[in-house]
Amino acid sequence: MFPKTVRRDVILLLCIKAAALTLIYFLFIKPAIVPEPDARTTAAHLIGG
């Protein structure tokens, strides 16, 4: 259903996408991660815990 040249384009686009996602991770996701609340407050939050 697809010509072989499309396959090359698809692989290229996938590489660009992978690069974009890596960039997004390092630029935006890593800086935004907040340290996990400690086990004591989580435990206090669960009733019966």
């Binding site: 259903m1 996408k17 974009a20 996602l21 997004i24 630029l27 935006f28 935004a32 991660i33 907040v34």
Partner: protein, 375 residues
């Protein structure tokens, strides 16, 4: 610029892109449904109209669902305030949308004329109501609607359905309706055959003229409405709390952005240019379709750029207005959602393209009459 600020800007742009995606993709099947009783005079003709969008309308409608989901994920305050503030309008839209899947699926399954005519008008309602309310809602955003928040960030408002149906907003509703009918006519010109195609071609001309006139009127009127402006410097990467700022009303304020950045006029050219080109290129329906896609793209881009950075201004408590800088999700959520969109949207566009390619070609009377699977 900090990450949070950049993320908010990106998500404002993405919101616009998703809304444009909805208007371009779902717009033509809403427009097709709006034209159904007029371009299709016999049962076979109406079935032709329905079957032009039959295989693709459900995928198109997901742009609408995604729009709602994306607003919820990235702008939860806007989602909450607008959906509950515009409550009855939303319910009205939902009611007509709910009729669509049943309309498409159930209509031709019985031979009964009354049954088929009922669903034809249900599909018609499912086309014109969302198309009009979409514009009415946007118009009200420019005017501002009366709402505010208490200390717990719980909203209070005096927004009413009657209040929403004011003259300027109704004009915007007609702009939106004519835009969507135009795009739908363009699709039928491309995909239908015979008398249906001829009538659709004529409808393109009428809807196009209506759109140009109404859009221009709305633009002129917009200049008479006091815009909103944030007073003083405001942190663009602060926590999302709308109550921390001051806002004033400014005469001709909605033209401030385009005055400062004249390049934004390109969006206006796209809208007008799309109409003119599409009408001129009707004999080349594929190209006409591409041009007619520019119309909702340009219109929404124009409106969004004019509104920026406001999302939902408050006429009663301007300081409580929702803006790009104080109504978003947290930085982490925006970042994760950005990753999800970059990951998934190209895939969606790819397989959507496949489906349109597989289903290419006009819908003829013979396709409808001889088939067991046609709607």
């Amino acid at each position: 610029m900090s990450e949070y600020e950049i993320l908010r800007l990106i998500w404002w742009a993405l919101l616009g892109i998703l809304l444009i995606g909805f208007a371009v993709m779902d717009g033509f099947d809403l427009g097709t449904a709006a034209l159904l009783p007029f371009v299709g005079r016999t049962d076979t003709e109406r079935r032709i109209v329905i079957n032009t969008v039959g295989p693709v309308w459900e995928g198109n409608q997901v742009w609408f669902i995604l729009g709602g989901g994306a607003i919820f994920a990235a702008w939860p305050m806007l989602y909450a305030a607008s959906f509950s503030g515009f409550y009855l309008a939303m319910i009205l839209v939902l009611a007509t949308l709910i009729l669509r899947p049943a309309g498409f699926k159930f209509r031709s399954k019985l031979e009964n004329t009354r049954w088929r005519t009922f669903w034809d008008w249900a599909l018609f309602a499912g086309g014109i109501v969302p198309a009009t309310v979409f514009g009415v809602a946007f118009g009200n955003l420019f005017e501002g609607v009366p709402f505010g928040f208490d200390g717990d960030m719980r909203m209070h408002s005096t927004i009413s359905l009657l209040g929403l149906l004011n003259p300027f907003a109704l004009l915007c509703g007609l702009v939106s309706l004519s835009m969507i009918v135009f795009h739908g006519a363009s699709w039928l010109n491309y995909k239908a055959s015979g008398m249906v195609k001829m009538r659709a071609s004529a409808a393109m001309l009428y809807a196009g003229i209506a759109f140009v006139v109404l859009f221009t009127l709305a633009g002129m009127w917009l200049g008479q409405i006091d815009g909103y402006q944030i007073v003083g410097a405001m942190a663009h990467d602060g926590p999302s709390n709308p109550l921390l700022k001051t806002v004033t009303r400014v005469p001709h304020g909605w033209f401030a952005n385009v005055s400062a950045h004249p390049a934004l006029l390109l969006t206006l050219f796209a809208a007008y240019g799309g109409v003119v080109l599409a009408v001129l290129l009707r004999r080349f329906p594929g190209y006409a379709m591409l041009c007619s896609a520019l119309v909702p793209a340009g219109t929404i881009a124009t409106a969004g750029a004019a509104l920026f950075p406001f999302l939902m201004p408050s006429s009663s408590e301007p300081g409580a207005s929702l803006t790009v800088w104080d109504a978003s999700s947290s930085s982490l959520t925006l970042a994760i959602m950005l990753g999800c969109v970059v990951l998934m949207l190209p895939v969606v566009i790819a397989y959507t393209t496949i489906v349109y390619r597989v289903m290419r070609g006009p819908v003829k009377a013979s396709d409808v009459e001889d088939s067991h699977s046609a709607y």
